[in-house]
């Protein structure tokens, strides 16, 4: 049962972040504008984050879906989600009503949640829980890492 849970908790955040990363990579300027609206960092750091974060999301999502370096990628994904959650909480505290920019371009033609509100914070916290579950469970079924381990042990 825990194995099935670990599989789904690996695949769901993985796919979500793979998609979110792709959406932001295809339109970094839009993500830059969103980050500026957050008013959290100076412009030089925002420009770096606008280029770097989408790729980090994409790589982490890719590794989670394939099941390579599961522990480290789930830990990094959890930390990234905590970072996003802190940013969203600061928005709510300051009373700024903007888009969270989570799904970038895809939010235009898909019914995806893109508002920075309590729902997005809860969603992020669920992802954090999922990632820590995968991190604590050392292996996950249907992963490339598990498959390679099996071959080596033969």
């Amino acid at each position: 049962m825990k194995g099935i849970l670990a599989f789904f908790f690996r695949i769901i955040p993985g796919l979500v972040f793979l998609m979110a990363g792709l959406a932001k990579i295809s339109d970094p300027v839009r993500f830059l504008m969103t980050l500026r609206e957050f008013q959290l960092f100076p412009d030089s750091i925002i420009r770096f984050l606008a280029v770097y974060l989408p790729w980090l999301e994409f790589v982490l999502g890719f590794l989670m879906v394939l099941g390579i370096m599961i522990r480290s990628s789930s830990l990094l994904l959890a930390l990234l989600n905590i970072f996003f959650t802190v940013a969203l909480v600061s928005l709510l505290i300051r009373g700024l009503e903007i888009d969270c920019g989570c799904f970038g371009l895809f939010a235009d033609f898909m019914p995806l949640p893109d508002k920075a509100d309590l729902k997005s914070i809860i969603r992020n916290l669920i992802f954090v829980g999922m990632c820590f579950f995968v991190f604590n469970k050392n292996t996950s079924p249907l992963s490339l890492e598990g498959y390679l381990r099996k071959i080596r042990s033969r």
């Binding site: 412009d43 420009r47 370096m69 522990r71 480290s72």
Partner: protein, 60 residues
């Protein structure tokens, strides 16, 4: 623990490499992004600079 740290660093640097490669490595890949406009300077420029001269276009 050591392996975890090495893997995490690998992922972070791989993402950095991909980000900079995709956006162009020349001096800074961040150049593709627009800089924040300095609204005060721009508005001052508009005030100080005179409007473009309207040339008299005579007949013929």
């Amino acid at each position: 623990m050591k392996r975890l740290l090495i893997e995490a660093l690998f992922i972070l640097f791989l993402s950095l490499f991909l980000a900079l490669t995709y956006n162009g490595l020349s001096s800074s890949g961040l150049r593709i992004l627009p800089r924040k406009e300095n609204k005060t300077v721009n508005s001052l420029k508009q005030i100080v600079s005179p409007p473009p001269a309207i040339r008299y276009q005579g007949r013929g």
